[in-house]
Amino acid sequence: MVARVPETARIPSALLPMRARVAHRRQGPDDVATLSLCPVDGRLAPFRPGQFNMLYAFGVGEIAISISGDPGNADSLLHTIRDVGAVSHALCQLQPGDMLGLRGPFGKPWPVDAQAGRDLLIVAGGLGLAPLRPAILQALAMPERFRSIILVVGARSPTDLLYPEQLRDWAGEPALALSVTVDRATPGWSGMVGVVTTRLARALDRCDPANVSALVCGPEVMMRHCCLALEDMGVPPDAQWISMERNMKCATGSCGHCQFGADFVCRDGPVFRWDRVAARLRIRGI
């Protein structure tokens, strides 16, 4: 006789990882690996730019990783992971053919659609380009809907730039005004040197700041300084969004691990409107 699982003992599907296989793996820059995943237990729900998955390295643990693939291509399930600790290390070590667990997509997306008719400014610092890549691809799939699309990318050094081939392609993309800057030049680098904030005024020199919508992602200090600089330039605080990171467990708004003031980052974020979180970001330790 087959035992029936009582209704109350069933694990909600959002908490149950599905298996996925690593189809391709790309190393670099440095301790960063980009995995292209292929679900084994059926198709995944479509994702929206800015959402994240919980990736489970079997026997090690589960962490939140943004989806960096093309939202227009249902098969493009890409994750870019920096090796910073136990779980991210285990994930970065996976090779094509290896299996991992996956949940999601979770979280609030970048509000790309809602910016139609405006100048869309996207500012990515370091690994922040990963969560923004789907938003950039979405905007570039319908460029006529925006007054302009401007991308400012910053990294520590030229070798730390994420997706270098993609950046080369985007440099030739007529619908996109791309500006790349590094904090530290290396020999042979003939591009811009300076933090991302130094590029903002020039990136917006043909825009009315009141008509600019900004999506900003990178380390918290960088996002804070970018949004403040944009505010100084006249970009309305309610037209700026950032993506937050906090340790996560359930990713469904049930456990409270990711609490950030009055919000749970997994449920109310990770994308937040700047004016909602600006004051909280000045409080140490929150």
């Binding site: 920096r82 969560p131 020999p187 591009g191 811009m192 300076g194 933090v195 300084h225």
Partner: protein
């Protein structure tokens, strides 16, 4: 070909364009047009700071060089910026090498002439600082962030 007069070029500039027409004429009395090709050295560290460059178009690398290592670019400045402040601080020496990364068009203001005009007309000097200082402060703020190594232990 450039057909604009020097006062017109100054009036078009992000920082100097804030002066009234009379002050622009005064500043233009110290000014000459300059063009540099990509790779050309614009100023050399330690040399007398005889000119301050009002950048109109192009990108300039501020470099530090030392024996046995290739020059390190510490910052880039661009059309709309003002290049150089050694001209203002005795003994008026250029503080860093500056090299054109692209074709650069700029207006060079003779430093001694400019200091003289500011001494003669303190209101002109005060306005120059008022318009220039926010821009310098933004560059300092940016360099502090650069030193802080924003991406050091970053997450996305």
């Amino acid at each position: 070909m450039d057909v604009q007069s020097i006062p017109e070029l100054l009036a078009d500039h992000l920082i100097l364009g804030r002066f009234d027409a009379g002050s622009i004429e005064t500043l233009a009395g110290c000014a000459r047009n300059f063009h540099f090709g990509a790779g050309e050295l614009i100023q050399k560290e330690g040399a007398p700071a005889e000119l301050v460059y009002v950048l109109r178009k192009g990108d300039v690398a501020i470099e530090i060089s030392a024996a046995h290592i290739s020059p390190t670019v510490v910052e880039t400045v661009h059309g709309g910026d003002i290049l150089g402040w050694g001209w203002l601080i005795p003994p008026y020496r250029t503080l860093f090498d500056a090299r054109a990364l692209t074709e650069v068009s700029c207006v060079g203001l003779d430093a001694a002439c400019l200091r003289g005009k500011c001494d003669d007309d303190p209101m002109l000097g005060y306005q120059l600082f008022k318009y220039w200082l926010p821009h310098l402060a933004a560059r300092f703020r940016a360099q502090r962030l650069q030193v802080a190594d924003l991406y050091g232990g970053e997450g996305a």
